[in-house]
Amino acid sequence: MNQRRQDAPIIAMHGVKKWFGEFQALKGIDLTIGLGERIVVCGPSGSGKSTLIRCVNRLEEHDEGTIVVDGIELNDDVANITQIRREVGMVFQQFNLFPHLSVLRNLTLAPMRARGLSRKEAEELAMEYLNRVHIPEQAQKYPRQLSGGQQQRVAIARSLCMKPKIMLFDEPTSALDPEMIKEVLDVMIELAEDGMTMVVVTHEMGFARRVANRIVFMDHGEVVEAAPPREFFGAPRSDRTKLFLSQILSH
C-alpha cells in the first residue's frame, strides 16, 4: 500500500446511495474531506444528514458507491470496519454513555480493550481528557448523576480517549437544555482549534459560522450546496438553501 499523501482526503465518498426499504435516504453523495477540515452538515429533518455521517463509521451500510476513510475502503470486511471505527470517534444526540459504569470506566473501557492499554495508562489518559472537557471532578460518578451537558462532554472525552483522527458529531446539542448548549459547543470549539478533523451535524449556525471550513447543506438525500460559511450565509446559490436559512435564522 502506498503511504497516503498528506493532502489526500481523509474521507472520500463517491456516488453513495442508501435505501431504507422503499425510501431512498441518500441519492448519490460525492463529498471529500481533507485532514484537519471542519465540516458542518445542516438541512431539514429527514434530509439524510445523520445517515450520511453514520455511513462514515458504518453504523449504516451504504448500498451503492464507495466510501474510503483514512485510505481504507468500507466494505463487508469486518477487520476493516473495526479498524476504521477505532480511528473515527462519534458523539451522539442521546450521549449513549454506559449507565452501569462510572465516568472513569466509560472512558477507560475502549482504550483498554481495543487499544490494549493497561488500566493505569488508560486512567491517566481518561483524566487528561476529562480535564480537557473541564469535568475531572466527576470521574467517580455515574452518568445519570450528571447534567445533560456534563454527560455530553463525558461522551466527547470517551471518544477522544481512542485518539481518533476524525470526530463525527450527530446533533450533539439537540437533546440539551438551552443553558447547557454553550458548555458543549465551547469544548467542540477548543477541539477544532487543536486541529481535529470534524464532521458535525447541527443546527447551531453560530457554531458553524465560527468553526466550519465548509458548510454542507442537504435536502431530500442530496448535497444541495457546499460552501465556506461566509459564502454560504452571505450568498447562498440555491433557493432551497435560502428557504432553509430564512427558516432557521428568522428568530
Binding site: N57, L59, T82, Q83, R85, R86, V88, G89, M90, F92, Q94, N96, L97, F98, P99, H100, L109, A110, R113, A114, Y142, P143, R144, Q145, A155, R158, S159, M162
Partner: protein
C-alpha cells in the same frame, strides 16, 4: 440475615400448622406422624434418611442451571444475529427443545443415548443433561428478550468505539441485560429445583426418591409425602429470598447510578 430469619420462621410455621390442618380434615384416618416425628427415635432416623436426598437435589439443580444459563446464552446470541441462518438455528433449537416434555427428555437421554451414541451416562450426568437441555430453551428466550430490551444507542456507542462484538456483549450489553432478567432467571431456578424431583424416576437418590423409598418400607405415604412437600417449600422459600436479596442489591447499584 433478617431475611433468612424470616424464611426460617415461615418454614417453622408451615411445619406446625400444616399437620394440624391435615389432622382435622378426615375423621376416619388414623395418623401416624411418628414416622417423621423428631420426638421419636424412628422419626429422627427417618427424617435423617429423607434429608439425605437434599445434597443431590441441590447439586443437580445447581449444576443443571449453571449449564443451561451458559447454553441458553449461546443459543440466544445467534437469535439476535442479522444472519438468517443463525436466526434459523436459534428458532429450531428453541422450538424443538421446548416441545419435548422434561420426563420424556430424561428417559430418552438415560435409556436412548447409550443406544444411539454408545454413550452411557450415570444417573446424575443423565439428569443434569436432561434438565439443562430442557431449561436452556427457556433461558435462551429470557436472554434474547433481555438483550433486545437494551437501547440501540448502547450498541452504536460500543461499535463506534471499535469494541469487538464479544467485548461489547461482555462489558456493555450483558451486564445491563442481566439486571433486567434476574427475576425470570430466579424463577427458572425455582422451577429447576422442583423439576429435579423427576430424576427420582431413573433412581437418583434425591429428596423425592428418598421419600418414595421410605414410603415402601413404612407404608405411610400421606405423612411422608407431606413432609416432602414441606421440604420443597422450605427450600424454595429460602431460594426466593436469596433471589430477592440479589435483586435488591443490584437495584441499589442502579439507584446509586441514578
Amino acid at each position: 440475615m433478617k431475611a433468612a430469619i424470616g424464611s426460617a420462621s415461615a418454614c417453622v410455621a408451615a411445619l406446625t400448622i400444616l399437620p394440624a390442618l391435615l389432622s382435622g380434615c378426615s375423621s376416619n384416618y388414623s395418623w401416624g406422624w411418628y414416622v417423621v416425628s423428631p420426638a421419636t427415635a424412628v422419626g429422627r432416623r427417618n427424617i435423617e434418611f429423607l434429608l439425605s436426598g437434599l445434597g443431590f437435589t441441590l447439586g443437580i439443580s445447581l449444576t443443571a442451571i449453571s449449564i443451561s444459563v451458559v447454553l441458553g446464552l449461546a443459543v440466544a446470541l445467534p437469535g439476535l444475529s442479522r444472519n438468517a441462518t443463525a436466526r434459523a438455528f436459534n428458532r429450531t433449537y428453541v422450538e424443538a427443545i421446548r416441545s419435548i416434555p422434561i420426563l420424556v427428555m430424561l428417559l430418552w437421554v438415560y435409556y436412548g443415548l447409550p443406544l444411539v451414541l454408545n454413550l452411557s451416562l450415570g444417573v446424575f450426568a443423565a439428569g443434569v443433561l436432561a434438565l439443562a437441555l430442557s431449561d436452556s430453551a427457556f433461558e435462551a428466550e429470557i436472554f434474547r428478550a433481555g438483550i433486545q430490551s437494551i437501547d440501540r444507542g448502547q450498541h452504536e456507542a460500543s461499535d463506534s468505539l471499535g469494541l469487538t462484538y464479544l467485548d461489547k456483549m461482555r462489558f456493555v450489553i450483558l451486564p445491563q441485560a442481566l439486571r433486567r432478567i434476574l427475576p425470570p432467571l430466579g424463577n427458572q431456578f425455582v422451577y429447576m429445583l422442583k423439576t429435579s424431583s423427576l430424576i427420582s424416576v431413573i433412581g437418583l437418590t434425591e429428596l423425592t426418591r428418598r421419600a418414595n423409598e421410605l414410603v415402601v418400607s413404612e407404608y405411610r405415604p400421606l405423612e411422608i409425602y407431606t413432609f416432602l412437600v414441606l421440604e420443597y417449600m422450605c427450600l424454595i422459600l429460602i431460594v426466593s429470598k436469596l433471589v430477592r436479596l440479589l435483586e435488591r442489591r443490584m437495584a441499589a447499584g442502579e439507584r446509586r447510578a441514578a
